[in-house]
């Protein structure tokens, strides 16, 4: 009997603790001072990189942030499952695809023109459901000792001399976004034949971009298709200089895709005013400069200079791609399966 009572007491205690800890569900009405209000953020960007921004935002505005960190795509799946019951006010994503999926289900509100006007139109949803926060370039990371003649185009990588020397991350959202863009730019047939050519060159598949960079550093492969900032991340993680460099393809090549991280506000947000403040804060000149210097990302704002040692967008010559359409990677995945990369 005592055992039962003990268990029941514990369960009751847990339940009551949760009841007390439940958050303030009051909706913030317009015109009210935002200081002291709560804002729930679903962040697909990691705490390490965006946490300091949140802390400064809190002290500047008095808004209290409840930040839930996770993987962008998993948070998007979670948001879709929560539907109108989502506790989230704002969704910050590592890539346009996850934002596009949530926007497509009609869960994101159209942002105010005041916010949309801050960023160039090519880095936001056409519907105005989300806006880009930072940009990242696809590059090839390479071993500067072994690779002396740099490829000009992704097509150069089909040369048999690269057999077994290229690293890719076919399961990774960033690689699949690139393939989706390639389909958009060149059409299905040409995209598939490029993938088949790469597959014929026996690339080494990794789970993550960072693993590709590590493998180049370890001398296992010579070149890999990654986002530009991974060489900085890996260098920091390994505690020093690494033998890997970023390279860009020729102007206009699909390999130079620019993808964005971005944010959207939920229809059901209880504090949409606070959420709008947060987006404006992250798009301010000050924050944008800080993204560039702290995380080596590109600013979404044209007036902010590119990260040290990297070319400007104009110099890269980014192909023109509809970022909104990057969400549908199903055909991309089927294609990857067909050529044997997935």
């Amino acid at each position: 009997m005592r055992k039962y009572l003990g268990l029941a007491t514990v369960a009751a205690l847990i339940l009551s603790a949760a009841a007390c800890g439940s958050e303030n569900n009051q909706r913030v009405s317009e015109g009210e001072s935002l200081s002291g209000t709560e804002l729930t953020v679903y962040s697909g960007r990691s705490e390490e990189f965006i946490g300091p921004f949140f802390a400064d935002f809190e002290s500047a505005t008095g808004i209290n942030l409840n930040v839930r960190y996770g993987d962008s795509a998993e948070l998007a799946a979670q948001l879709l499952e929560e539907g109108n019951n989502s506790p989230a006010d704002i969704f910050i994503s590592q890539d346009a695809g996850s934002l596009g999926a949530v926007a497509e289900s009609g869960m994101l509100t159209t942002l105010d023109a005041e916010i949309l006007n801050l960023a160039p139109t090519e880095y936001q949803a056409k519907s105005g459901a989300w806006v880009g926060l930072t940009a990242r370039a696809r590059v090839f990371a390479y071993d500067p000792v072994k690779v002396t003649e740099l490829p000009d185009s992704i097509d150069d990588l089909l040369d048999p001399k690269w057999n077994g020397k290229i690293g890719i991350a076919p399961t990774n959202a960033s690689f699949q976004a690139f393939v989706t863009a390639l389909r958009q730019l060149r059409g299905e047939v040409a995209a598939e034949s490029w993938l088949a050519g790469i597959a014929a060159n026996n690339p080494v598949a990794y789970e993550k971009n960072s693993m590709i960079v590590e493998a180049i550093n370890a001398g296992e492969i010579e070149l890999g298709l990654v986002n530009h900032y991974y060489i900085y991340e890996v260098a920091e993680a390994l505690g020093g200089e690494i033998n890997v460099k970023n390279g860009f393809f020729a102007v206009g090549d699909p390999g130079n895709l620019i993808n964005v991280s971005g944010a959207g506000i939920l229809n059901t947000a209880r504090n949409s005013a606070g959420a709008a403040e947060l987006i404006k804060y992250l798009l301010s000149n000050e924050s944008q400069n800080r993204f560039v210097s702290d995380t080596n990302e590109y600013s979404i704002l044209l007036e902010v200079p590119s990260p040290q040692g990297l070319p400007t967008f104009a110099d890269i010559g980014t192909p023109v791609v509809d970022l909104d359409a990057l969400k549908d990677v199903r055909l991309t995945q089927e294609m990857l399966v067909r050529v044997g990369l997935l």
């Binding site: 729930t40 705490e47 390490e48 998993e74 499952e81 960072s210 505690g239």
Partner: protein
């Protein structure tokens, strides 16, 4: 009137076994209802996709290759896991191996290392470590302790007199093993192998890092890449079907009842076989296994940590440890609470209800954490303040690991002689009073074993924790995920080390050779 354990009169059989007390029936059905929420969710999602869409997903070429990979992996892992587990158990229990206690602890401690941590470690050591063979290797090492503990417990339960009389009547050692030891160990070993295979079906950490497309990984990829929840649910249902087949096969192959114990008197253990010089060979064999499963992860974690000389954020480390322990403790307590009616039902009132109950919770056990997580997100987000609260997280652990809890309660209650119940009733106690006053106290050690097992497993859980934890509630597993997702392996190392250390505590208690009754209760981890 004396009723032997499995004797049921025809009329009782037709009624579905001995009359089940109303309260027990209601509480068992209630728990079963709670535990089948994820399965129900999957069915609803899959139906939502419509027949045409569902068959399009099912008839993909990919489904066939995934099926082959998944089944092949499960079978090979079960095979190697059985080889490692049974040989280790025999060496530890039946030979003059030097320091058997140490090897038992080393063999069990591998349970404290999450599969994603040991996989990371092996990749760090051998960067090209990937693929099917690598997955067989890692998962066999990770799951071998389940078989080891099950085999060990059944070896200890076999009365030496049986073996001695078998030898005396002229049987050779291998004949004794085949005719006396194996039939008695088989149910426990088969049950542990079922758990091993269900584990392989639901594992995500190892297969994703090693790029092996099992159904669990495919479900995950589908959720992430296409946000197509219905298609993912269809694939997850194939997983459920696969699990159902495995459970059925094991049920048929297991043979006799769980609690076939020959008498109530104390059991005399068999004499240990003298291996001579070969005992050092045996010791090195066990040592190599321990190095592969335990040594490599710990070595890599420490060197990664030292090489970056990452500053340890002590307050983060402490709060993550507290979060891990409190979440896992509440989850394990809730799991035991849920498991009590089902365990009693299975042990005492075996019939249709108990069989369905067992089947249902085993099916849930094979579901990937991401499926259970999303099911509870769908439900929990409608529950207001309970959503993303500690109780809901604890509930998800209870659902995920209920099979382990029920298994241990069932075996330990089945060991309580039925005649005690009859005596209690003859003294005027009703069914519930009998359960409370007689059954529960005697079954307690087994219940504790189950509790430790759920505790240990819940500490390592990641996918459901990511979705259901209270916002800002970062467990050690979450911290490891956070750091590794931005390639900061050095910074992840202290969290991983602490997790292994914290999880080692319940693991050590599970393996402790000197604990009273532990030899019996240890088998309870199996069903």
């Amino acid at each position: 009137m004396s009723i032997t354990k499995n004797a049921v009169t025809p009329s009782q059989k037709m009624a579905g076994g001995i009359a089940v007390p109303r309260m027990l029936q209601i509480s068992a059905l209630f728990v079963l209802f709670l535990a089948s929420i994820p399965l129900g969710y999957l069915l609803l999602r899959a139906i939502a996709s419509g027949f045409a869409a569902a068959s399009a997903v099912l008839l993909r070429e990919k489904t066939v290759s995934t099926l082959i990979t998944t089944v092949g992996l499960a079978i090979l892992v079960a095979l190697f896991s059985a080889m490692i587990g049974i040989s280790s158990a025999w060496l530890i229990q039946r030979t003059n191996l030097p320091s058997p206690g140490l090897f038992l602890v080393l063999g069990t401690l591998a349970l404290a290392v999450p599969s994603y941590v040991s996989t990371y470690a092996w990749i760090a050591l051998i960067p090209s470590f990937a693929g099917f063979a690598a997955a067989v290797f890692i998962l066999s090492l990770t799951t071998a302790p389940y078989v080891l503990l099950a085999a060990l417990a059944s070896l200890r339960r076999i009365d030496a007199t049986q073996e001695e009389s078998a030898r005396a009547s002229g049987l050779t050692a291998s004949q004794v093993a085949r005719r006396v030891i194996w039939p008695q160990s088989r149910p426990a070993i088969f049950a542990s192998l079922l758990l091993v295979m269900l584990y392989v079906l639901s594992d995500f950490g190892a297969v994703s890092l090693l790029r092996v497309d099992t159904f669990t990984r495919v479900v995950h990829t589908m959720y992430k890449a296409t946000f197509d929840r219905s298609a993912a649910a269809v694939v997850a249902l194939i997983l459920v079907l696969l699990a159902a087949i495995l459970i059925y096969v094991e049920y048929k192959a297991r043979g006799s009842a769980v609690a076939a114990k020959s008498g109530l008197g104390s059991i005399r253990s068999a004499t240990r076989i003298d291996l001579g010089f070969k005992k050092y060979l045996a010791a090195s064999y066990l040592l190599i296994i321990a190095i592969a499963s335990l040594g490599v992860p710990i070595y890599v974690l420490i060197t990664r940590f030292v090489s970056v000389a990452a500053e340890i954020n002590v307050s983060n480390l402490v709060s993550a440890t507290i979060a891990t322990v409190s979440a896992a403790l509440s989850g394990a307590l809730l799991a035991m609470l849920f498991a009590i009616p089902l365990g009693i039902l299975a042990a005492r009132y075996s019939g249709r209800l108990s069989r369905y109950a067992e089947f249902g919770i085993l099916l849930t056990h094979a579901l990937p954490g991401v499926v259970i997580g999303l099911a509870l997100v769908a439900l929990g987000s409608r529950l207001g303040f309970l959503y993303q609260s500690l109780p809901l997280l604890a509930f998800s652990y209870a659902v995920l690991f209920l099979a382990k809890a029920v298994g241990s309660i069932r075996t330990s209650i089945a060991r309580v002689p039925r005649v005690y119940d009859d005596i209690s009733r003859s003294l005027g106690n009703n069914n519930w009073q009998t359960i409370r006053k007689i059954t529960i106290p005697i079954a307690a050690p087994g219940v504790i074993t189950g509790f430790l097992l759920v505790l240990l497993t819940a500490m390592k859980e990641l996918p459901a924790t990511l979705m259901l934890r209270p916002t800002g509630f970062d467990t050690l597993a979450i911290e490891i995920w956070t750091q590794t997702s931005i390639s900061q392996y050095g910074q992840a190392a202290p969290y991983a080390l602490i997790l292994v250390l914290v999880a080692a505590t319940p693991t050590y208690l599970l393996s402790r050779p000197d604990r009273a009754q532990s030899s019996e209760s240890r088998e309870n981890m199996t069903l």
